[in-house]
């Protein structure tokens, strides 16, 4: 009987199960850690260069100082527009430049535009946030100042003590 010579089996049966396990684990890891890139922007500002351990002498240059004070802190409540975020409801902030005082960001913008038109040279602007002012109060002001076209922006003011 012409029986075929049995072929030498080169094929080794590969055990797939552990590989598939690992691959699935990796897949699940990447799905879980996935956080889509959120687009974030930045606002640039500068600090006084010469401030060391000693306070610097008053600068002779005419500058615009915006003093920010809190008129009504508002109540911290969950933000209906964003999950896991809180927002101050009914918050009112005063903006003061010299004798000019307002609570509306738009009239601050108008005033800054007027100041810019009236100045021969672009004056530096300093922001002076006072007690209880939060980041969310300062950024809109910085925004308006940058939009109006001022270039030199610095932060000053009394640095509050630990409370």
């Amino acid at each position: 009987m012409g029986r075929h010579r049995p072929e030498v089996s080169n094929e080794t049966e590969m055990e797939m199960t552990p590989m598939i396990d690992v691959v699935f684990l990796l897949l699940i890891f990447f799905i879980v850690t996935l956080k889509f890139k959120t687009l974030e922007g930045k606002l640039e500002a500068a600090l006084p260069k010469d401030r060391g351990t000693a306070t610097s002498p008053a600068e002779p240059i005419e500058k615009i100082e915006i003093v920010v004070t809190v008129a009504n802190p508002g109540i911290l409540q969950p933000d209906p527009k964003a999950k896991k975020a809180k927002i101050y409801v009914g918050r009112v902030v005063n903006y003061t430049i010299g004798t000019f005082k307002t609570q509306a960001i738009d009239s601050l913008r108008e005033h800054l535009e007027k100041l810019k038109r009236g100045a021969a040279e672009l004056p530096p602007v300093s922001l002076s946030p006072r007690r209880n002012v939060i980041n969310g109060d300062v950024i809109p002001i910085l925004d308006v100042v940058i939009e109006t076209g001022f270039e030199e922006i610095a932060f000053t003011g009394d640095f509050e003590d630990e409370s």
């Binding site: 590989m19 691959v23 922007g41 930045k42 606002l43 500068a46 060391g52 939060i134 969310g136 925004d143």
Partner: protein
């Protein structure tokens, strides 16, 4: 010799397409997962219209500031309320404990030595020319950000370029998405 046995009911499943798909998915997720996002804590940024898109420079620390003032850099806390000062005194505020020693040490030893420097004509001094990014929650009291700025101006640090992170306005976002889909 054939063994007389049970009829084979086992159906051979071809795994290859599934494995192909799974690998493709993995590769997709590896590409999409941006590891640089690991530095960003989850917080709500204030919105600003004039915010410029942030193209992060190679070497720039990101200081996350939470609502209670805690400072987190690359998942490590450098300041939190009630931090142990270990008897250190604030170099600027006379007679006050130095709550920001850990941040100051980090900036002075790990950041400033690697920053580009430029000589300031007026001060006749070499100052760091690179920025830091302060990424603070919108409800963070601004005094905490001012304290960071104060630390930046300390002896041996002298960082004067600060960037404040802001989110885009809803209108800007809608506009950008409309432009992308076009």
């Amino acid at each position: 010799m054939r063994r007389k046995g049970r009829p084979s009911t086992e159906v051979e499943v071809d795994m290859t397409p599934m494995i192909d798909m799974t690998f493709l998915l993995i590769i997709f997720f590896i590409i999409v997962t941006d590891l640089s996002q690991q530095e960003l804590e989850e917080l709500k940024l204030p919105v600003a219209r004039s915010a410029v898109e942030d193209k992060p420079p190679e070497f720039r620390p990101i200081l996350n500031v939470l609502m209670d003032g805690s400072i987190i850099i690359k998942k490590e806390t450098y300041y939190e309320p009630g931090i142990d000062t270990g008897g250190r005194m604030d170099p600027v505020r006379q007679g006050k404990p130095d709550y920001y020693w850990k941040l100051a040490d980090f900036l002075a030893l790990k950041i400033v030595p690697f920053m580009n420097k430029e000589v300031d004509e007026v001060l006749k001094m070499e100052l760091p020319d690179d920025p830091i990014l302060i990424r603070a929650d919108r409800n963070t009291p601004f005094k905490y950000i001012q304290r960071i700025m104060e630390v930046c101006s300390r002896e041996g640090i002298h960082i004067w370029k600060v960037e404040l992170a802001a989110a885009e306005t809803p209108e800007a976002k809608a506009k950008r998405l409309a432009e992308q889909s076009r």
